[in-house]
Symmetry: C2
Subunit: 448 residues, 2 copies
């Protein structure tokens, strides 16, 4: 009847003050998503397996968790439920199922956990948060919509204040057009793009060799590497580069023109300066993406790779509906990002959601303490009363270890004078505040 309390490998379970820091991050992401006119949806973790698993079965589908109830298990049946492994397939199912009740373009954000049966490995998670936005058109969606993703993401990372970052934008048609021009046949494009994706990680020698094996000539490889080696210094620079870019065929011209639309829209949104760039090396190996693609890196920590990726796709939900649903979206892997930021010391944790702690000298203090707490809570100040009249030092230590910033200390004498002592547990300063000013005193000061 006893069991060792532990979580399964591959989950990031947080202590309360870390959870507050994580929650602050989620709240910031959500606030920026909402400021940009995205509305929330949530989908169930459990989906019918026959509905969820309709694709050809790539890497991700092989990592699916299947689920079944006790009854189903006892009857020896195969599981008919599966846990979502991303938020894109559930979005496709959602939009197809509810299309008559939605307004298009449909702009949703979704911040929920997803599940993957990954091999346990440092920094790889089996249960983790994704924070996605997507804009879905019915039949068509203007290319200008693609500009919204880098604009939102720019604001998200600015607000998160985790250092300098770069949102890299490209368009798959550009490099596919070039490949066509270089004589690489269409059916080889995906394989070539997958190799190009490894450029940063494996270096140009490796890529040169791999492309050679795919039958790409040396000369073509050189032009290709030259082409994908370009990155702009920012939005204005990208526009200049794109305006001058020669486009030998229609595919390339379409890629160029779409990118120009995106960067001009970013310019009009006043977004980016140097934080949003055209980077011709970004290809996003997934065949899913058809036009604009995005990646985001932290400038001082390029080693952690892209912290936010996405792109344009032609049809969200072909497996569920005949209605063409073109869209564009981007996803932040929040759990992994939080973990990485904590690893490199960029997460400040230590502050509680509780701002004020009221100490007790005697049981008789409960009545005035309760009245004070009610006044503060009604003014929006989160307040906790000590559980019991212990030694003052013990109570202050409890408040401090709990991450609470202020402690109220008030004996009979202070109460008679209509004041309390407020101790700031961060800098140890103490100040006398009149009862009537207490709420505004805390309102004008933050938590830890």
């Amino acid at each position: 009847m006893s069991s060792t309390p532990r979580t399964m490998p591959g989950v990031l379970e947080l202590l309360p003050l870390e959870q507050v820091a994580f929650q602050n991050m989620v709240d910031t992401v959500r606030r920026v998503y909402e400021l940009h006119g995205f509305v929330p949806i949530e989908t169930p973790v459990l989906e019918l397996s026959e509905v969820l698993l309709t694709k050809t079965g790539g890497e991700t589908e092989r990592q699916v968790y299947f689920a079944q109830s006790t009854g189903s298990l006892e009857q020896g049946r195969d599981p008919d439920l599966a846990m979502r492994f991303d938020l894109t397939v559930p979005l496709a199912r959602y939009v197809a199922e509810h299309q008559n009740d939605l307004v298009f373009p449909f702009r949703r954000y979704q911040i929920q956990r997803v599940y993957r049966g990954e091999a346990p490995q440092r920094g790889r998670f089996r249960e983790f948060y994704q924070a996605d936005i997507d804009i879905i058109g019915r039949d068509t969606l203007p290319v200008s919509a693609d500009a919204e993703c880098p604009a939102v993401i720019h604001d998200v990372f600015k607000e998160l204040a985790i250092g300098a970052f770069t949102v890299k934008v490209n368009n798959r048609r550009l490099v596919q057009g070039l490949l066509t021009d270089l004589g690489v046949i269409g059916s080889d494009h995906a394989a070539v793009l997958r190799e190009l994706d490894k450029l940063e990680k494996r270096g140009s020698e490796h890529v040169r060799e791999a492309l050679g094996e795919l039958g790409v000539t040396d000369q073509a490889v050189s032009r290709l590497l030259d082409f994908v080696g370009y990155a702009s210094k920012g939005v204005d620079d990208a526009i200049e580069h794109l305006r001058a870019l020669p486009t030998p065929n229609e595919l390339m011209e379409r890629g160029r023109s779409e990118l120009l639309t995106v960067f001009e829209a970013l310019q009009s949104l006043g977004v980016g300066g140097e934080a949003v760039v055209l980077d011709c090396s970004i290809a996003r190996g997934l065949d899913y993406y058809t036009g604009t693609v995005f990646e985001t890196i932290l400038d001082d920590h390029p080693g952690i790779g892209s912290i936010c990726s996405g792109g344009r796709y032609d049809d969200l939900a072909g497996m569920y509906t005949k209605t063409p649903l073109p869209g564009v979206g981007i996803s932040i892997g929040l759990t992994r990002l939080f973990w990485q930021l904590r690893e490199i010391g960029l997460i400040e944790s230590g502050g509680s959601t509780t701002q004020v702690f009221i100490t007790l000298f005697t049981e008789a203090d409960r009545l005035p303490a309760a009245a004070m707490a009610t006044t503060l809570r009604n003014a929006g100040v989160s307040t906790l009363i000590s559980d019991a009249p212990r030694k003052l030092g013990k109570q202050l230590k409890y408040a401090d270890r709990s991450g609470i910033r202020f402690a109220i200390i008030a004996g009979t004498d202070e109460r008679a004078r209509g004041v309390v002592n407020v101790k700031d547990l961060v800098d140890q300063s103490q100040i006398e505040v009149a009862d009537a000013d207490l709420a505004s005193f805390f309102q004008s000061r933050g938590s830890r």
Copy 2:
């Protein structure tokens, strides 16, 4: 390769504007929990089955969903993972696992989904939100902590503004003491309490009969029904009743004294008036609870039963640790509550998280529209620009159907004068606002 998009039975999937209404409800609950000094934690949905399923295997454990990865399934193994069916067992595991890193009394709130393989039935959900608070002591926890649950819950339901409600409080020791006094032996107490729990649903005749079958004498049944028939009019009335209550044995006296502590603390917190009562019929069938117990009903809709229940327990995590962890907690079944409120028409849905929609007459309007959107967003006003310069009527219809309250209409003429027209899509009024006043105009007005 095509599949009908649908969710599994027993989940409540919401359309975007319903999701906004649900999210508002969650935000309110969270805000009140935080105001009262509870800190957030989250635990993984997936737990190791051997850790999660340590109890004797009641009804709830029989409804567990088991999970396994594709690899594990292919190897024909039994699932070693299970999905949480409540937030209490994961809390027990969490507190036992992290006890050296927590501060006691540990006050946590947790708002997450749980999973139960229920038979599909109207109003029963297989995946649903719970919103729990618990206060956990190490070794001991003062009885005064029990008063916090009804105090918080009172504020939650006041803020949710879903009509009059009553938080019912009782103490299991009181009725157990009475049973002892009536000669019912201890081993029969649980069965008797289970029958008493059915009083409201099945009526006194049914309970009288069932208790007779359990060997309780007619006279004892009458005294019992008389006793549990009492409900106070509010906090003051409860205190008066408890002060006068005769207690023939120690168990009853302890129950009486604990309840008195709870109601006196509620009085000092200024909570309740008539919204918190002593109701001697509340027993909470679960053996888990040992002292104070809580239930909450909507006064105008008693038929939907308790919307928020909980109580005091002696030891949270006996299966994981030898450290005694007494606690008190309460849980709101948010999904079920939302569903019920929607059924009885108490949920207002229709407002988007987006407050402002900027219309476009021509592509050239994008630049000034983008500048305006950036100004508004920086001022905290959620703003969406029309995806394309369509007919004005179409754009306004999109905004209206999206639940957005205000539309900005600005042609070349208005722009030259430094003004825009703002249309309120709810009352169809239109007003001219100077560019410089636009942000404060929206800040002082709400969304829909």
